[in-house]
Amino acid sequence: MYARELFVEAASEAFERCPNLSPRRDIDGLFVGQMSESYEHQAHVAPMISDWVGLLPVPAYRTEAACASSGVAMRCAIYAIQSGMHDIVLVGGVEKMTNRRTATVTENLGMASDFPFEQWHGITFPGIFGMMATAHMAKYGTTEEQLAKVAVKNHENGMLNPKAHLQKKITVSDVLSSRPVASPLKLYDCSLISDGASCIVLTNPKLAKKFTDTPVHIVGSGQAQDTLGLFERDDITTMNVTKLAAKQAYEMAKTDAKHVDVAEVHDCFTIAEIMAYEALGLCKEGAGGKLIDDGITNLGGRIPVNTSGGLKAKGHPVGATGTAQACEVFLQLTGQAGGRQVKGAEMALTQNIGGSASTAVVQIYSRGD
C-alpha cells in the first residue's frame, strides 16, 4: 500500500471510533506529518491525502520534523484549535518505507542529520545514536545488556499488540548476538523500517462532548529545538531538548513525572529510550540503565513505557510515529488496550523526537470522564 492508502486505513478506523462524527461535514482542517518525499517520489502530499480521506477542500498542511513530523503536526493542530480558527481537525502522520533497499532507507533517514559535516563524512543515523551510546556508557557505566533489555521489553509488549509490525519474542542474548549496525548498537537495538499511518481527531473540550462521553484531554504540551548536528552540543549524554519540552508540558498540566501512569517514548534506538527516561524525569540523570534493570518500565512496573511495543516492535514509519504514540495512550486511557492494558491509567505521556533530538515534542494526556 502507498502512503495515501495507508492514511485512509488509519483515518477510517479513527472515524469508526467516533460514530457521531460526520467527517465531511464536521472536520475543518487536516494536519499530516511526513518526513520524506523520496520513498514514493511524491511531494505536496497534504492535498492528496485530504482528497483520499474525503476532506477536500478544507485547509490541509504537511509538517516535516524528521521522526517528529506528526508530533509537530499535533502541536500545529493544537494551535489551530486554540486559536479558534478551526473546530475539529484530523491530525496524523504517514511514511511508506519498505519499497526501498536498506542502504537507500539509511540514506533517506540520514538526511535529518547535518549534510556538510555528518552525512558527508559517512555518519549514519544509527551512527549518531551509536555515538550517544558510546558516550553515555563511558560516563554512566550503562551496559549493552541494559540497552538489550529495552529491546526485550518492547518486543514483549509488541506481542500483545495485534498491530505491531514485529510479533517476536527475543532474549538479551539474541540482542547481544545480533549483527552490528553502529557500535555499540546492533540490529535488535534499532527500530524497524516500516510502512504505516496513524491519526487522531482533535477538537476543543466543549465540542468533544457532542461526540463522546469518554474523551481524552491533552492537558500539557511542550516542544523545543536543538542544533541539527550532534557535534554542536556541549553534552551529548543527555537529551536537553526533551527536558525542555517536558518542563513545558508538566507545567501546563500542573503535574510531574511521578503522576504519569503510562508513557510512549521515542525508542528509535534502545539508547534513546534510556536517555528519554532520564530527560523526562522518570529517574535521575545516568540512572536509565538501572531503571530498566529494576523492571520499573515493564508492563506491571511502576510506570510502563512503550506498551505498544514502541518503535522497536510496533514499528517506526517515521512520519506516523508521533500520532501513533497518541493513539496508544488513547487506548490506554479509555481502557481499550487489551492484553497490554495498564489498569486504572489516568494520566499518560508521549515523547516524540526528530533527528538526533533536534526536535522534541512532549504531550500529557488525561482521561476525560
Binding site: P116, F117, W120, H121, T124, M131, A135, P180, E232, I236
Partner: protein, 132 residues
C-alpha cells in the same frame, strides 16, 4: 584564496583543499565557531575572523559503522567520531588508520585531509582524523 573570504561552509572546504582546518572567531564575544557562520549564535555579532584550529584534538565519542549508505559501503566497517579542539569547538568526521579495538574516548587524534577532490557537487575535499 582571497585575503578575507566570507565565513561560509564553501570556504571552510576550500581551506580543506589547502590542508587547513579553519573556524572563525567572533570579534564580539571571542567565541570560536566551527563550522564558520556569519552570525554568532552566542552574541549575535556578525564580525568574524578566520582562525586555524589546532592540528590535534581529543576524541569525545565514536562509533563503528557497519551498515552504511551505498557510497561508503566499500569502507565498511569504518569508525567515525567527534573530536574536540578546545572548549566547545568540535567537528565530527571519519577516523582512519586506527585499529577499531584501539578507539578510546579521550585519545588524541590529529587532522589530515583527502587529496582527491570529488568531481560532483558538492566537491568538498574531506578532512579526517588519524592517530597522532
Amino acid at each position: 584564496m582571497a585575503a578575507t573570504p566570507a565565513p561560509t561552509i564553501e570556504n571552510f572546504y576550500k581551506f580543506c583543499a589547502e590542508k587547513r582546518l579553519m573556524g572563525v572567531t567572533c570579534t564580539g564575544c571571542k567565541k570560536v565557531i566551527v563550522p564558520p557562520r556569519s552570525l554568532c549564535p552566542q552574541c549575535g555579532s556578525s564580525d568574524m575572523k578566520w582562525t586555524q584550529l589546532p592540528s590535534k584534538g581529543k576524541l569525545v565519542t565514536y562509533t563503528v559503522i557497519h551498515v552504511s549508505p551505498a557510497q561508503f559501503q566499500e569502507l565498511s566497517p569504518y569508525a567515525v567520531g567527534i573530536v574536540e579542539f578546545g572548549k566547545g569547538v568540535r567537528l565530527p568526521g571519519m577516523i582512519r588508520n586506527v585499529k577499531l579495538e584501539n578507539l578510546k574516548i579521550g585519545m588524541e587524534l590529529q587532522t589530515d585531509f583527502e587529496v582527491t577532490i570529488p568531481t560532483e557537487w558538492p566537491r568538498w575535499p574531506r578532512y579526517f582524523f588519524t592517530q597522532s
